[in-house]
């Protein structure tokens, strides 16, 4: 069996990211062999295909190359809903502060965020991940695998670091390099 071609076949039918472990189980080969073959397959696709092998949401998946985006979009007519600034704001807070309660999000933003949270839940970008052990046991929110997929991230650690920024007028003594947030 040509491992690289077999992997290509599996990745072709996969409709979500697959891990090397999953691929190794399906092909009954060691994981390291799959990883080596994936590397070769990725290199080959990079040079010889309209597709690319991407590492996303904790696994591998085949995707179209960006240079063919216009043609693919015309062909598939995808319905992409753009995200408003307020949705992105709530999403960013959840992504960097998770797990976080709705009240904590409201507290950071200074406005009610329940509508935005509902919208993000509907878009499967955030989800309930548990309850906080405080009075009232409020719901905790976190991002989903779909969030990683939607932003072409492999893991939360790939989120750009968040630096505490100050207004430019503050000038010297800025603490812009302090306070990098820790991700779960």
């Amino acid at each position: 069996m040509n491992l690289m071609r077999a992997l290509e076949a599996l990745l072709f039918v996969a409709d979500s990211p697959v891990t090397p472990n999953d691929l190794a189980s399906a092909l009954v080969v060691p994981v390291y062999a799959v990883e080596e073959a994936l590397e070769k397959l990725g290199a080959r696709m990079h040079h010889e295909s309209g597709l690319q092998l991407v590492r996303i949401a904790g696994g591998y998946q085949v995707a179209t190359k960006p240079e063919y985006a216009d043609a693919v979009a015309r062909f598939t007519t995808p319905q992409r809903a753009r995200m408003s600034r307020s949705l992105l704001e709530v999403l960013a807070i959840v992504a960097y502060q998770q797990p976080v309660t709705a009240a904590e999000i409201d507290s950071v933003r200074g406005v009610d965020s329940s509508y935005a949270l509902r919208q993000l839940s509907e878009r499967r970008l955030v989800t309930e991940v548990g309850r906080k052990s405080t009075p009232g046991r409020p719901m905790l929110y976190g991002t989903t695998q779909h969030f990683l997929h939607s932003f072409k991230l492999d893991a939360l650690t790939e989120l750009p670091p968040l630096h505490r920024a100050l207004p430019e007028t503050v000038g010297e003594g800025s603490e812009a390099d302090q306070g990098r947030l820790e991700l779960d």
Binding site: A63, A73, R85, S150, T169, G179
Partner: protein
């Protein structure tokens, strides 16, 4: 300003939240800079607020509200929050302290770190990532979470589901069991819906007619779905809302 100079401008730097507050420039002996910068430095205990006259700043803010032709409420709100915070801090500082000790001031704003404006770069980064992601297509991952065996022209299952949810939120609770109307069948409901459907498109709420209960909404929705599936009703989007009409005979 009696003890300093202030200028109110429509464009400002961001100091409070993603929405920048109205820019009020303050110049006095103890501080020179914007309201946003003053707010931040006071929170960091780097400026002695006692040396900064706040009354002229408040007057400048009120003048902006009264005289500006197009007041940006978001930015005005951000400035109001900053001013309220500064006034409270200064009021506490002006209170006499016993034995020369600083009064304990509960800084509610310090309980929320990081402040929302610190997420601005992250929001930009997420926008950029989403833009890059939109250039790449995967197999089936963009499928709608809702599935229907029939795809009405121009209306997605999400549109229908949203219309249902909106009306369910408006619907009155169902009456107690003792007063509940006799159970009905979907066929009966479809007959009722067909009687109401006309040639002109009507929105869901307009079609069902008030008052309605949550059960009514669900029955109407199921009947409409079935009629669409059977080709006896049409659906389309009008100003982002789904609207229904009787199918026109070929």
């Amino acid at each position: 300003m009696a003890e300093g100079k202030e200028v109110v401008r429509g464009d400002g730097v961001s100091a409070l939240g993603v929405v920048a507050p109205v820019e009020i420039l303050i110049e006095c002996g103890a501080f020179s800079g914007s309201l946003g910068a003053l707010f931040h430095l006071v929170r960091e205990h780097k400026v002695d607020l006692l040396g900064v006259p706040l009354a002229p700043v408040c007057e400048a803010y009120l003048r902006y509200l009264l005289e500006s032709a197009d007041v940006d409420m978001d930015r005005a709100g951000a400035a109001l929050a900053a001013l309220a915070y500064l006034l409270e801090r200064k009021a506490w500082n002006l209170l006499p302290s016993q034995e020369g000790e600083e009064p304990e001031v509960e800084d509610l704003l310090e309980t929320t770190e990081p402040w929302v404006h610190e997420f601005a770069p992250a929001i930009e980064a997420l926008s950029q990532l989403a833009e890059e992601r939109s250039l790449v297509f995967f197999r089936s991952t963009d499928a709608s979470p809702y599935e229907l065996p029939y795809e009405p022209d121009g209306v997605s299952a999400d549109d229908l589901a949203k219309a249902l949810n909106r009306l369910l939120e408006k619907a009155a609770p169902d009456p107690p069991a003792a007063q509940r109307r006799p159970s009905r069948s979907l066929s009966d409901q479809m007959v009722e819906v067909m009687g109401r459907l006309g040639v002109d498109f009507l929105g869901f709420e307009e079609l069902i007619g008030a008052p309605f209960t949550r059960s009514d909404v669900v029955w109407w929705f199921l009947a409409l779905l079935e009629l669409i599936r059977l080709g006896q009703a049409r659906v389309r989007l009008e100003d982002g809302e789904v609207a229904f009409a009787r199918a026109v005979a070929a």
